[in-house]
Amino acid sequence: MEGLNVITKRPVTVGAVLLILILLAVMPFYAKPYPVISLTNILMYIILTVSWVIFSGPTHYISLASAAFFGVGIYTSALLGKILPLPLVVVAGGFASFILALFIGLLTLRLRGMYFIIFTFSISELIRHFLLWWETNVEGTVGRWVVMVSHNTVYYIILIIFVMTMLMAYLMRQSRFGLALRCIGEQEEAAIHIGINATIVKTLTFAISATFMGASGAIMATRWTYIDPRIAFDPHLSFMPVLMAIFGGTGHLYGPLFGAAIFAYLEEILTTKFPYYYMLFFGAILIVVILFLPHGFFGLIQKRWKGGSK
């Protein structure tokens, strides 16, 4: 009897995943600092992208508020970093983003398509401009300092958030909640008529995806140590997850992961070797993917290898 789509848990897959996790966990012990820092960055992008897909993948609501949630995490770290121990700061960052996302979601998830995209972008920009104005005119100084934390600590915390994000993404796909989300994404009007409370499902999912973004913002702030509204709410961080998700393919669990990993690595190489050309490169890739690879890179690989099983 067929059930819901289940990812076939072959022992090989589980084993491979565990092996990779173990390798990642012991990395700081045998690698130099630079790869660890590099990996931290890549993991951050993966978290942002995978979180983004948790909501925007099934519902097809393109959210450009990722920068807002990440930024809220950063500011939480700046404000609470001296008061609370680090783990609590990270949790607080996630929580603050959760609340913001609930608020935004309840306000706007009845807006469709284009309006939702622009609204989420506007909120992010509004926060950025407002904080900049506030810090310039009311506080007098722009920017804050964040308590510094060792590279390895940052790495481990990001690693933990990464694992949790992947776990959540997996659970979402397998659970009823995830099924309800897919129904909403396929045909929202029908979904509400078969008993799905679309408002709650969408808002909650949106908030959950924001939480991981906020938590990762909180810890990354300690890496950058100086933050201001332009850094914290950089629209780049709203656009990139979208790009990476499209590139990797949103229909599969690992699509966004590979998309983000490849893109983040590419960005690092390009910004160091060809800093004047990387936007050109990304733009071209984006257009090529949209034109010729509608299911993303991962979708293409899936089709060639397995013929469709998720």
Binding site: R182, E186, I192, I194, I196, N197
Partner: protein
């Protein structure tokens, strides 16, 4: 909607007809909670339901199909029905039970053999049946069909009429919008006629068919 006032009794099959633009689908949308009412009241089993959300009205036992099918196109036939089975009631349904109900329903509408096909790949007649199965999966007492026979050839219409009769025999009350006159006349116990948002006639099929008001409205269009 301007002036509409009617009742549906349990076990009945009531038809809703009227020229295009008369407001039939709008009436369905009001009943299902998709559109809000400004004046008046809708009661279901004695309870007021206007003002509730569509998913709550679904839980109370009202289900519907759509004029242009709104299936979950990228999901399989099985997934379409099992979703409704899982979410269609207020109380949580176990996956095992939902799957079993789904298999029964798919057999009931004769779609068992295509259960792994994607909904978007189905021919129109099967899509209509799938919508019916999905609606049935929410365990309704009242099932509203919105032109469930539109786009079907005469053979398929006959099959659809048979399905409607089978559903009625299960004890489910049916309220159906239809343009296929033959089906309405044969299957319905009573017919309501809508024109420009108002009810202009109501009664048994023969009465309505011979009513001068109704004839004028249809010939005049």
């Amino acid at each position: 909607m301007y002036q509409v006032d009617f009742e549906i009794n349990p076990g009945e099959v009531v038809g809703l007809i009227g020229p295009n633009g008369a407001g039939k689908t709008t009436l369905f949308n009001l009943i299902s909670g998709f559109l809000p009412i400004t004046v008046g009241e809708i009661r279901y089993k004695g309870q007021k339901i206007n003002g509730l959300n569509p998913h709550q009205i679904c839980w109370k036992g009202v289900a519907r199909t759509f004029q242009s099918t709104k299936l979950f196109a990228g999901m399989t036939v099985f997934e379409n029905v099992v979703s409704a089975s899982l979410f269609g009631s207020k109380r949580t349904v176990s996956l095992f039970k939902a799957e079993r109900e789904t298999m029964e329903l798919l057999e009931f509408v004769d779609l068992l053999s295509v259960r792994t096909m994607l909904a978007k790949d189905l021919p129109i007649a099967h899509q209509k049946r799938l919508e019916v199965a999905r609606a049935l999966a929410t365990k309704p007492d009242l099932l509203m069909f919105d032109e469930v026979m539109a786009g079907l050839n005469p053979v398929e219409v006959q099959e659809a009429m048979g399905l409607v009769a089978k559903i009625r025999d299960r004890g489910i009350t049916i309220f159906m919008i239809e343009h296929v006159m033959k089906a309405i006349m044969e299957v319905c116990d009573r017919i309501i006629v809508l024109h420009h948002g108002s009810k202009i006639a109501e009664g048994r099929p023969e009465e309505v068919a011979n009513s001068p008001k109704v004839i004028e409205v249809y010939l005049g269009e």
